[in-house]
């Protein structure tokens, strides 16, 4: 594919393709500027007439199920990533498709993982045409080296729901790995030997796909309770020995960072929430499962106890640290998007205050609101931040794909968005003049916390006022940047990126925020 791709400049000043995989695109218009129109997409109407009255939708294997779903060339196959790096079902489905002999599929996972690098061979053999979803490691390299036939499309978790719901992506067949299911297709993630917690990422797939296959290694008699995935949306159920490697699905224990510098950042962030008055009775927050985020939760917990403060809810990815908050009565609820460790899985399966959510309730921008904007503070990471607080989370400074967007973009809607980042990594400054790939507009990023000080976005005068008199090292972002450049021996050279788009970064409303370029 060497066709010339027409580029347009979007409202963020980034050059983006006007067409992606044959579909015309809307360049990013600015935060909240795009007005969607029309009606949502919907799967075809089905009739109970065509499904077994005894509710038994089992078929012998995945290949049979795919054939019965009418798999053919060029279709879109989707998977969820709740089994993370332990997932076996996605490759199982794609390999079954290969055996059937179809070509040019679009694979549409909610995220991909290194263990799925087998997808590369399927792209080379023509079974998969391209991937729309996060691509890291070997898959990311394959994409940025320009080897994929179509263009990669990176979406946030909320953006994926939006794309499905708005009809931008039509899923022909959803293959849903289920740690527990009944023969009718009701399914749940919180029990079974491959338990992963919530199955929220698969909800959109189950309700909007033409055909839905549930794959389980823990078949229970009807009813599978709870049924996060409703069997009424499911065509076929396939029983297999194993849907994944439990050791890689959840970590036994999530570890707090031991790096003193990272602990310092985590402590700064917790103190910031306290000193800015955000940590108060009834507040809410979200932090991920990275080392700094876990340490932050630990510091915040101590401060909440000291000050006698309780949260109304905390937002998962849940870990042992959030579960402890719940058990100690420091929060009324955990609203969970995904579950990272064994304590989290156990809690979501047994404690009614630990609630599985989906990208619809938490993140989807094309809805009647979502609760991401009700969260008081969110603590996120980034690979780069620029002096205007624009941030990159998907590429390394050399343009290689490094991370998916995950819920990162959706979380920027929180009352106070804090990026917790070291000021430099391996001599490479994190605060720079201009980000390599724009993933989050600076107007939504309020605070950058580093081990050398905390920078507050000048747009947030209220936060600057709130922490006046605090003993925290609040500094202009330019100041921190200049110090780090002194330490690192000058500004880093800007690697030259190629001029052929290989993937795009979507904003939460489906417009195109930035482009990933082929590595030169």
């Amino acid at each position: 594919m060497t066709e010339r791709i027409e580029l347009a400049q979007n409202a963020a000043g980034r050059s983006v393709p006007a067409m992606v995989n044959g579909r015309p695109q809307i360049p990013f218009l600015g935060v909240g500027q795009y007005q969607p129109r029309g009606r949502k997409a919907a799967p075809p109407i089905c009739s109970s007439r065509d499904y077994p009255e005894n509710g038994d939708k089992r078929v012998a294997n995945l290949e049979t199920a795919l054939r019965k779903c009418g798999l053919r060339n060029g279709m879109v196959i989707s998977n969820h990533h709740h089994l993370r790096d332990g997932d076996r079902v996605a490759l199982m489905a794609l390999e079954a498709a290969a055996r059937i002999g179809v070509k040019d599929l679009m694979w549409f996972p909610s995220a991909s993982f290194p263990s799925q690098k087998g997808a590369i061979e399927l792209m080379q053999s023509g079974v998969i045409h391209h991937i729309e979803g996060s691509m890291n490691g070997p898959l990311g390299d394959y994409c940025t080296q320009g080897k994929m036939r179509g263009m990669g499309v990176l979406r946030s978790h909320g953006g994926r729901w939006q794309a499905i719901q708005d009809g931008e992506v039509h899923i022909d067949i959803a293959v849903i790995a289920a740690p527990t299911a009944d023969a009718f297709g009701n399914a749940d993630g919180s029990h079974g030997k491959s338990a992963c917690g919530s199955l929220g990422f698969a909800l959109a797939d189950s309700t909007y796909a033409d055909r839905v296959i549930v794959v389980t290694d823990n078949l229970v008699p009807f009813p599978c309770i709870p049924w996060q995935i409703q069997g009424n949306n499911v065509d076929f159920v396939v029983e297999v020995d194993s849907i994944g490697d439990p050791a890689k699905i959840v970590s036994g224990t999530t570890q707090i960072t031991r790096s003193p510098d990272r602990l310092r950042i985590a402590e700064f962030v917790a103190r910031f929430l306290r000193d800015a008055g955000i940590m108060r009775n009834g507040f809410s927050f979200q932090a991920g499962a990275g080392g700094i985020a876990l340490a932050f939760v630990d510091y915040l917990r101590r401060m909440m106890k000291e000050d006698g403060v309780k949260a109304r809810f905390v937002r998962g990815g849940s870990t042992k640290f959030l579960v402890e908050l719940l058990q100690e009565g420091l929060t009324d609820y955990i609203l969970d998007g995904q579950t990272f460790d064994l304590d989290g899985v156990k809690s979501i399966g047994s404690d009614p205050r630990h609630v599985a959510t989906s990208p619809f309730t938490s993140y989807n921008y094309h809805g009647k609101g979502n609760f991401a904007s009700l969260v008081d503070a969110v603590v996120l990471g980034a690979t780069e931040v620029d002096v205007n607080f624009n941030a990159n989370v998907v590429t390394h400074s050399d343009g290689r794909l490094l991370h998916g967007i995950g819920g990162w973009q959706n979380c920027l809607a929180a009352g106070c968005t804090i990026l917790a980042v070291p000021s430099f990594r391996d001599r490479i400054p994190v605060i720079i003049d201009e980000v390599t790939t724009l993933t989050g507009p600076g107007e939504l990023i309020d605070v950058v916390a580093t081990e050398r000080g905390i920078a507050i976005n000048p747009r947030r005068q209220d936060l600057l006022d709130a922490v006046k008199g605090s003993s925290l090292p609040i500094r202009p972002i330019q100041d921190i940047k200049a110090e780090v450049e002194r330490i690192c021996g000058g500004k880093p050279a800007k690697p030259k990126l190629g001029d052929r788009p290989v993937a795009v970064v979507k904003w939460v409303d489906g417009t195109v925020l930035d482009t990933i370029w082929q590595l030169s």
């Binding site: 003193p260 602990l263 391996d426 001599r427 490479i428 690192c488 880093p492 050279a493």
Partner: protein, 403 residues
């Protein structure tokens, strides 16, 4: 000067470290030759961003060391410039080149000179051959950092650490920390002094001191080096007593030079010398610690405690520290940044002590104003030494930001 590589004993050599788990360091291999100029190959984790900067720095360092003909191969793991210079210089010197020449990195402004009796609650040990710990050490707020050339540095790496520590003193901003260096046991420590003193550290720790003569020798050399290098600010000495003999000579050691600002104790070696186990309670070293404190106070200098080696046991550290303060110690070594706030808390006067001392000082000042010879608080008479102790405590508390 023409081809300096004609040096007879020039031979291939290497310095530094590389590998997947190595951070902020580099490995340099040098192969001297008689002609052909410089041939530099570079592989760097940050090559895209700093590759050309590393290459030009390499050329500058080699020029400063008079190396004109050599093959140099560098594997860089994101080292900062002062580390790059140090590793190249080490490799060059190991290759038998660059004798009596230095490739010094640019010097940042020196902090204020440190006072003899400054606050020395915590001092964070940094292994002198691990550059990744240096750059952020000051951020964790210890009263001092120690760049260690002794026990944490392998025998074969003494030369490398010495050059690295020298460059660190020139290039790294440790904020308000006192910059200490622990040299090696004499006589090797004298070589350390020659490299380090020109960069004006604030304090030298001399390990395994047993006699005043040892400190006297280091002190004389230090004075000479200060004069010959134009260092005109104080550099204090802190002898470490780590043996039964050292403890017996504590007072003589503490008074041998006005440059000695403190005595400290090394309990691992001391208990080994006694042939007893080091316990969490420390009964076996009670005498040594108290003897040393008494000697230090008699000499009018500070008494500083050993390190607490269980990083995970912060409660144990706190208890040891509080006990240590009660005995008369004024500070303690730290081997991990997480120990610093605990040590600061342990060595801080309590709020009720501060309040009582403030009242005594206020009563004293009032008595002075009214021309009274006797100070009293309520119905109690206050003796002059009590007033003196209260004033010291208030001053300390102020220095710690507590009063």
């Amino acid at each position: 000067m023409t081809s300096t590589n004609a040096h007879q004993s020039a031979h291939p050599a290497e310095a530094g470290h590389h590998g997947k788990d190595v951070r902020s360091d580099l490995h340099v291999a040098i192969e001297p030759r008689d002609s052909g100029g410089l041939e530099i190959t570079l592989e760097s984790r940050v090559g895209l961003y700093y590759g050309s900067s590393i290459l030009s720095q390499t050329r500058q360092v080699l020029e400063a060391l008079g190396v004109k003909h050599a093959r140099i191969s560098i594997h860089d793991e994101g080292a900062l410039p002062f580390v790059i210079s140090a590793r190249i210089e080490t490799a060059v010197k190991r290759a038998g080149l660059g004798k009596d020449q230095k490739a010094l990195p640019e010097k940042i402004a020196l902090p204020e000179p440190s006072a003899k009796d400054r606050l020395r609650r915590s001092r964070l040990y940094l292994p002198g051959s691990e550059p990744k710990y240096f750059i952020n050490a000051g951020l964790h707020g210890p009263d001092a950092i120690i760049l260690d050339l002794e026990d944490s540095v392998h025998h074969g790496e003494k030369d490398a650490a010495r050059i690295l520590v020298r460059n660190t003193l020139r290039a790294v901003d440790f904020g308000d920390c006192e910059r200490m260096v622990r040299i090696n046991q004499l006589p090797l420590g004298l070589e350390d002094l020659a490299e380090i003193i020109p960069e004006a550290p604030d304090l030298i720790l001399i390990p395994k001191v047993e006699t005043p003569e040892q400190v006297g020798e280091a002190d004389r050399l230090m004075r000479e080096l200060k004069v010959s290098n134009g260092v005109d600010r104080p550099i204090w000495l802190m002898p470490i007593l780590e043996s039964a003999a050292g403890i017996e000579n504590a007072f003589a050691i503490g008074t041998v030079s006005p440059n000695v600002c403190a005595l400290t104790i090394g309990l691992e070696d001391y208990t080994a010398d006694l042939g007893v186990a080091k316990t969490l309670e420390g009964d076996e070293s009670q005498y040594a610690r108290m003897r040393m404190i008494n000697a230090a106070k008699a000499a009018g200098i500070q008494a500083i405690d050993s390190v607490f080696s269980d990083v995970a046991d912060l409660a144990g550290l706190r208890q040891w520290g509080e006990n240590s303060r009660a005995l008369g110690f004024e500070g303690k070594g730290c081997i991990h940044p997480s120990q610093i706030p605990v040590v600061h808390e342990a060595f801080a006067p309590t709020q009720s002590e501060i309040e009582k001392a403030l009242k005594i000082v206020a009563a004293f000042e009032e008595a002075q104003q009214r021309g009274l010879g006797v100070v009293s608080l309520g119905s109690k008479m206050i003796d002059p030494p009590v007033v003196e102790r209260a004033r010291k405590l208030v001053a300390r508390a102020k220095a710690m930001g507590k009063a």
